[in-house]
């Protein structure tokens, strides 16, 4: 069996701050294969973005410190790679899309120039993406990169792609800019795409278009995707799998249908219950009492225990290990039951 595209094992990350060392990722396990779209959900500050940034190690160190664990990309541990090797992976093995399309494009350069630069950088390690013979001159490579940039803009649904190459970012709408950023992330033909809240800053109608586009690209390019979001609706609509994070842990993970239909972790259930439905009366939004624990002095045992309605004395001792609760479905709760005895 070949190694999975991405396999994160027991990743621990701490961030130094003036108040002390915050243990922000506390043993993350995640495996992503080609063709899978993993939704990474959780409330603000649970570590989902940090997990995304950790994969291509974009966090400045210090304050970030990878204390333990491994991040394997097709069998190679990226945490052990020297900087130049890591640099080679960015853009052409791992693509990234960030939240705010208005601030993630450089305002001073034409989008064509920005796309061409990314394509040329990726083509240094992956010459195949440019349609030109080996040993081609700089101007020839540039021309090929420009053609690729136009094709990518067309692929992400930007009309008049050839003309729009010469436009500046402020001449695009928010949704169009996110399309440009998707084109930029995909121009190096990455195997893994990390999309950090790609639709949060967009109108709801545009959100759906962008998600559909992302889904189409995944099918076209046979990528694995990690979609970071706090919106369970987005997950249900777009993802094949989901991992729910709480305070630096993945508390439940599995195929989307299984997790949404039969959430086993109390936190997942609380998240699901907080989604307003048609029957929710005005002023009756259900939230989750309490707030995320302080990660400098985290609670002992299960980090969710202080807010958990089912917590018992046993929850306060020892971090709960994931319990298998279904096919590929696991929940990190000592009360979770194996499928044979689960109360379905």
């Amino acid at each position: 069996m070949t190694a999975p595209l991405l396999s994160i094992r027991d990743l621990h990350l701490s961030m130094s701050s003036y108040d002390g060392k915050a243990h922000v990722l506390n043993g993350i396990d995640l495996t992503v294969n080609r063709g899978e779209i993993w939704g990474l959900v959780g409330e603000s500050g649970c570590g989902k973005s940090l997990t995304g940034l950790s994969i291509s190690q974009l966090l400045p160190s210090p304050p970030a410190d990878y204390m333990a664990g491994e991040i394997m990309l097709e069998g190679r541990d990226m945490l052990k790679l020297p900087r130049p090797e890591l640099q080679k992976l960015r853009g052409n093995r791992i693509g990234m899309i960030f939240q705010d399309p208005t601030t993630n494009l450089n305002p001073a350069f034409r989008i064509g120039d920005q796309l061409v630069d990314v394509a040329l950088a990726a083509a240094r390690w992956k010459p195949g993406i440019l349609d030109c013979p080996p040993g081609a001159g700089r101007s020839e490579r540039k021309r090929a990169a420009r053609k690729l940039a136009r094709d990518m803009l067309e692929r992400v649904g930007i009309p008049d792609a050839g003309m729009r190459l010469d436009s500046y970012p402020h001449q695009f709408s928010g949704g169009m800019r996110q399309r440009v950023l998707i084109a930029m992330a995909l121009i190096g033909r990455p195997d893994l795409l990390i999309a950090d809240e790609p639709t949060t800053a967009l109108d709801v109608s545009v959100q759906a278009q962008i998600l559909k586009l992302l889904k189409g690209c995944v099918a076209d390019y046979d990528m694995g995707v990690i979609l970071i979001t706090h919106n369970l609706g987005v997950v249900a609509e777009t993802c094949s799998h989901v991992a729910v994070m709480y305070a630096g842990n993945i508390v439940e993970s599995g195929p989307v249908a299984a997790v949404i239909e039969r959430p086993e972790h109390p936190y997942t259930r609380a998240l699901m219950a907080s989604i307003p439905t048609r029957d929710t009366r005005r002023g009756m939004l259900r939230g989750l009492a309490g707030s995320v624990p302080n990660l400098i002095t985290p609670p002992p045992g299960c980090r969710f225990a202080p807010r958990c309605p089912h917590a018992t004395a046993a929850c306060m001792t020892g971090v709960p290990a994931p319990v298998r609760v279904g096919r590929d479905h696991a929940a990190a709760c000592i009360h979770a039951k194996e499928p044979e005895t689960a109360h379905v």
């Binding site: 291509s56 974009l58 640099q87 080679k88 992976l89 960015r90 853009g91 052409n92 791992i94 693509g95 990234m96 960030f98 705010d100 601030t103 993630n104 494009l105 450089n106 305002p107 001073a108 350069f109 630069d117 990314v118 950088a121 990726a122 500046y168 402020h170 001449q171 950023l181 930029m184 992330a185 190096g188």
Partner: protein, 335 residues
């Protein structure tokens, strides 16, 4: 674009009117009799009165002002009491020397300040940064004339590498005047000896004038670079594998320079108005030296003329800076 330039040039009019009014008022408030000073110690009362009438100084101040403005519209800046020559001709003779000095100083400041600012931002909180910070505080806090004296002591007296002062010794034949800048005129004429001589005279005063803007531009560039490096698009560029060198020299630099441009424009005016001390120390035959002599002898026409020309140049420099904003920042260009 054209509309923008026209509007900005029209804005010059109130600036210039304000300048002339203020300068005229100051000229009248100052005590003493400039005509008596100009006529010399042996002049009789009748001669002084004749001169006063000749220069129209016996008339009410608003009539004088009206005469001045109507002359100004024809390019006449009045006549100097001291040299008895038209002020416009004097300024035309002295201005190129000052401009050459200011441009040279600005070139040093910009060409060194911007890369140094980038480098210190990238290496921030390490030794190159600390070193530059100390040097910058020293450069900003040291008076220019004192720095000039130090440079003279070091490079002219001890090392004897550079001449003490002046612009071009009499023994060197000046190149035919095209731009009025001796260094550039010498290059155009292909006169290598004149070029190196002119350059060696220009070096010290230009360096003395450049250090303060250099330090400011460097610090400004450093802080705006640090700010730009924290922008989301820099993270995106890193995440998508652009080489670090390209990110800094291309993507970050262009965004960081636009904040620094304002300072460059302001410093240009500051240097123009502040050449007096450096020109005095280095005996540089420019506007500053000319204006100082005029002020000492209460010869107000040259003073007003110099103030006008410097004001005009300052506004023009800032117009150029504003146009450069558009080159660097497309958002400004289109709105």
């Amino acid at each position: 674009m054209l509309q923008f330039i026209v509007r900005r040039v029209l804005l010059l009019i109130p600036v210039l009117v304000g300048l002339t009014v203020i300068m005229f008022a100051i000229a009248r408030i100052l005590p003493g009799d400039p005509v008596a000073l100009a006529a010399g110690p042996n002049a009789t009362q009748a001669e002084i009165e004749a001169l006063t009438v000749e220069y129209g100084l016996d008339q009410p101040v608003w009539v004088q002002y009206g005469h001045y403005v109507s002359g100004l519209l024809q390019g006449d800046l009045g006549t100097s009491l001291l040299t008895r020559r038209p002020v416009a001709a004097d300024i035309a003779a002295y201005l190129p020397a000052t401009l050459e000095l200011v441009f040279a100083a600005m070139a040093i400041a910009v060409l060194l300040g911007i890369p140094l600012g980038l480098v210190t931002a990238v290496w921030r909180n390490r030794w190159p940064d600390y070193l530059s910070q100390v040097a910058a505080i020293g450069a900003i806090s040291m008076p220019r004339f004192f720095l000039g004296l130090l440079l003279q002591l070091c490079f002219a007296m001890w090392l004897a590498w550079l001449p003490l002062g002046g612009r071009l010794p009499i023994i060197v034949i000046p190149p035919p005047s095209v731009t009025g800048f001796l260094t550039i005129d010498a290059l155009i004429a292909g006169d290598w000896t004149a070029f190196t001589t002119a350059l060696s005279h220009l070096a010290m005063p230009a360096i003395a004038m450049s250090l303060s803007p250099l330090a400011t531009i460097m610090r400004m560039m450093r802080s705006s670079t640090i700010e730009v490096m924290q922008q989301d698009y820099v993270m995106t560029a890193r995440a998508l594998g652009l080489p670090r060198r390209q990110i800094i020299t291309k993507y970050v630099a262009r965004n960081a320079v636009s904040a620094t441009l304002t300072v460059i424009g302001l410093y240009f005016g500051w240097l123009l108005g502040g050449t007096v001390l450096v020109e005095t120390v280095f005996d540089w035959p420019g506007l500053g030296l000319y204006a100082t002599k005029a002020i000492v002898s209460q010869d107000m026409m040259p003073v007003i003329g110099v103030a006008l020309v410097i004001g005009l140049l300052f506004v023009l420099a800032n117009l150029v800076i504003d146009l450069l904003y558009g080159v660097i920042n497309p958002k400004v260009r289109y709105s």
